[in-house]
């Protein structure tokens, strides 16, 4: 299955345009839990078309979300990204999807698993205000995961200008903090520093910001030193290869207030490079080396960017999705 996907990115453009016609398919999830959404929708009020619309909306709401853009109705990140990119350029967000037997399987299962997964979904959404669910339970269940990142996401056209949330969503307890962080970044770093911002509700309402790569070092210094943010502790640095782009995710924590933030910095895939924050948080040092080693992202400004896990003469970066081992047996 994965091999098939490997090939996909090449055909992506075609796919995108092709898929835009088939918006109804947005709900085309594979099966299992995600399939529930379909099942729910199907059994619930909205018919396919309706659900497609709502999903489309969701997608446009969540351009930043990368893989989190569940609303795109895709389980594949490149598709999600495509969708997100598409969303930025043309609001009628395209969704390309293989419907086929997988979806059929999903439908078959849906009836069976709908109940369980719906419960799961409900639990995920439980953190949100009960009011929302009470108001429109079907909708809330239709795509809670999709909706949650989208809930507070920036505007669809990629302007990332407004961080206000769409009306149907209740505000997350961390929304003010997110807004404040965005405001600070805009004021003190640069107007275009924040690409988007959202609340990751499944993850304890984690305020998640996507910061423009060029502004990242300044933004990091701000996070570190500003007394309101005061994120003095860098929990974790992760690199992710989304096949359309690379992303470095920083999980920040303020030990004094206990506030968490997740910062994402995106970079293109051909010459991935993100400014190093080792001068800001020493923690980043080896983490960035590891990301460099395994994903090949360059960190200009890093004091000692060498391979850390693999041997120095290793070829390629194993965690990249297009990595081909020299010897397949190994």
């Amino acid at each position: 299955m994965s091999e098939g996907e490997r090939k996909r990115p090449d055909e992506r453009e075609d796919d995108v345009s092709a898929a835009s016609a088939g918006e109804q398919r947005t709900g085309a999830l594979e099966d299992g839990v995600s399939a529930v959404n379909i099942g729910e929708r199907r059994s619930g009020a909205p018919k396919d078309g309706g659900s497609a619309v709502s999903a489309g909306e969701k997608r446009t709401e969540a351009p930043e979300a990368g893989a989190a853009a569940t609303g795109a109705g895709t389980s594949r990140p490149e598709a999600a990204e495509t969708a997100a990119d598409g969303a930025r350029t043309e609001p009628a967000a395209p969704a390309r999807r293989k419907e086929t037997e997988e979806e059929k399987a999903a439908r078959r299962k849906a009836a069976l698993e709908a109940r369980e997964a719906a419960k799961a979904a409900k639990a995920a959404a439980a953190a949100q205000d009960a009011a929302a669910q009470a108001g429109s339970p079907g909708a809330a269940q239709a795509g809670p995961q999709a909706a949650s990142p989208g809930a507070a996401s920036a505007g669809p056209a990629g302007a990332a200008a407004e961080t206000n949330e769409p009306p149907p969503k209740p505000p997350s307890p961390n929304q003010p903090r997110l807004d404040r962080a965005v405001q600070l970044l805009r004021e003190l770093v640069a107007d275009d520093a924040v690409e988007s911002a959202s609340i990751n509700e499944a993850n304890d309402h984690l305020p998640t910001l996507v910061v423009r790569k060029e502004r990242w070092l300044q933004a990091a210094r701000l996070f570190r030193s500003h007394e309101e943010l005061n994120a003095n502790y860098l929990r974790n640095v992760t690199g992710v290869d989304y096949e359309t782009h690379m992303e470095v995710v920083y999980h920040l924590l303020s030990l004094d207030s206990g506030h968490n933030y997740a910062i994402k910095v995106r970079t293109d895939r051909d010459r991935p490079s993100v400014p190093s924050v080792t001068p800001v948080w020493e923690t980043a040092n080896w983490n960035e080396r590891e990301i460099y080693d395994l994903l090949g992202i360059d960190f200009p400004g890093h004091p000692d960017l060498r391979r850390i896990m693999m041997p120095d003469d290793w070829e390629g970066h194993p965690l990249r999705k297009d990595y081909v081992p020299l010897d397949p047996e190994v």
Partner: protein, 368 residues
């Protein structure tokens, strides 16, 4: 004295060396016995867990987490299943959650015992190692009865645990907890007051809270500087908010404080265990309602828990499939180890061992 020409000695410590706790390697430059530069080299145990995980489903990844921090496999199990459960919004039956908490605290004690024994061995005392392993053996025996393995448990599942407690197991744990208090006193009598030992670790490898935070240290390494940060208290997970326990902190951030903090943590774990065993629900499910195929919804999550070595985190990017799109573990040993080169400069070869041991690393986790 200028007439004597001296030169620096480049010494390669490891990867095969008795005190590197596995296959860790440090290249040190020595001026006499004083270290002028230290360069850690790792990766000898890199198995590509994160890469492997991308082609495995979540149940299959659990045994791999066992092998990361093999001294504390239970907490590794937990961080993965906890992340998946949180993503899927699953609820875990109370009895299962209690069992998880009990095994995690037992594991913390076992892990600290291994640390204690090997640390003393590093410092040159032979017996504590055997004393510690004797008691750790009893914990492993309990684990063996519970889940059929002594080290790589594969015990937790998304939504619950694999095995319910066998008959009489809870009583055995109770008996163990009771006897462990006495053993702990023995340990203290054996070395904690030993003047040679104290002179070896007091004031060695000290850093302040600010440095510790900047380097992202966690666990006892952070708490030894006086920062009261324990995820069990500060960001409670599992059932930790139900129990009373203290978070021991140090003051000077030296090896001695780390020693005291860890030893006290054993006692606090025993306290937690006592309460948990008291409140253990006599009946109940040990497996929640879980879909047959575990497919977390698309999205991402970062969860973190307090492992014996510090904050172990799990970052999952899911695309709604049965396999994670990206799985990254924040390994406390790996992050804690970063401060080593800084601490070593100006110390002697002997202190290298003391400081490295004091950080408490497990190479399976560093290299992942």
């Amino acid at each position: 004295m200028g007439v004597i020409r001296t030169e620096e000695l480049l010494l390669n410590v490891g990867p095969q060396h008795p005190s590197t706790h596995g296959v860790f390697r440090i290249i040190v430059k020595l001026d006499g016995e004083i270290i002028t530069e230290a360069t850690p080299v790792m990766g000898y145990l890199h198995r590509g867990t994160e890469k492997l995980a991308e082609s495995l489903n979540y149940t299959q990844i659990i045994p791999y987490t066992d092998r990361m921090d093999y001294v504390s496999a239970m907490t590794n199990n937990y961080v993965l299943v906890h992340a998946v459960e949180k993503m899927m919004g699953l609820t875990v039956p109370e009895r299962a959650e209690f069992l998880r908490l009990i095994v995690m605290e037992l594991q913390r004690i076992a892990s600290h015992l291994v640390w204690w024994g090997t640390y003393l061995l590093d410092i040159g005392a032979l017996s504590p190692f055997l004393y510690a392993f004797n008691d750790r053996e009893r914990i492993l025996q309990l684990f063996n009865e519970l889940c059929g393995a002594r080290l790589t448990y594969n015990y937790m599942r998304v939504g619950g645990v694999k095995w319910d407690a066998p008959e009489g197991w809870i009583d055995k744990v109770k008996a163990f907890v009771k006897s462990m208090y006495g053993k702990l006193d023995d340990y203290h009598a054996l070395v904690s007051g030993n003047e040679i030992f104290l002179s070896r670790i007091k004031g060695v490898g000290a850093y302040d809270a600010e440095t510790a935070i900047a380097y992202g240290l966690s666990g006892a390494n952070l708490r030894s500087t006086g920062v009261k940060w324990d995820l069990r208290k500060n960001e409670p997970y599992s059932l930790y908010d139900r129990f009373e326990f203290d978070v021991p902190v140090g003051r000077n951030g030296d090896c001695y404080d780390r020693y005291v903090v860890r030893m006290e943590e054993i006692r606090q774990s025993l306290r937690i265990l006592e309460q948990a065993l008291e409140q253990f629900p006599p009946e109940g499910e040990t497996m929640g309602k879980v879909p047959r195929v575990i497919r977390p919804p698309a999205g991402e999550i970062y969860v973190r828990i307090e492992s014996p070595r510090g904050e172990i985190g799990c970052y999952i990017v899911s695309t709604g499939k049965a396999e994670p799109y990206r799985l990254k573990f924040r390994r406390p040993s790996f992050v804690n180890l970063q401060i080593l080169p800084k601490l070593l400069v100006g110390e002697s070869m002997t202190n290298l061992v003391t400081i490295l041991g004091g950080i408490d690393i497990v190479l399976g986790e560093v290299d992942c």
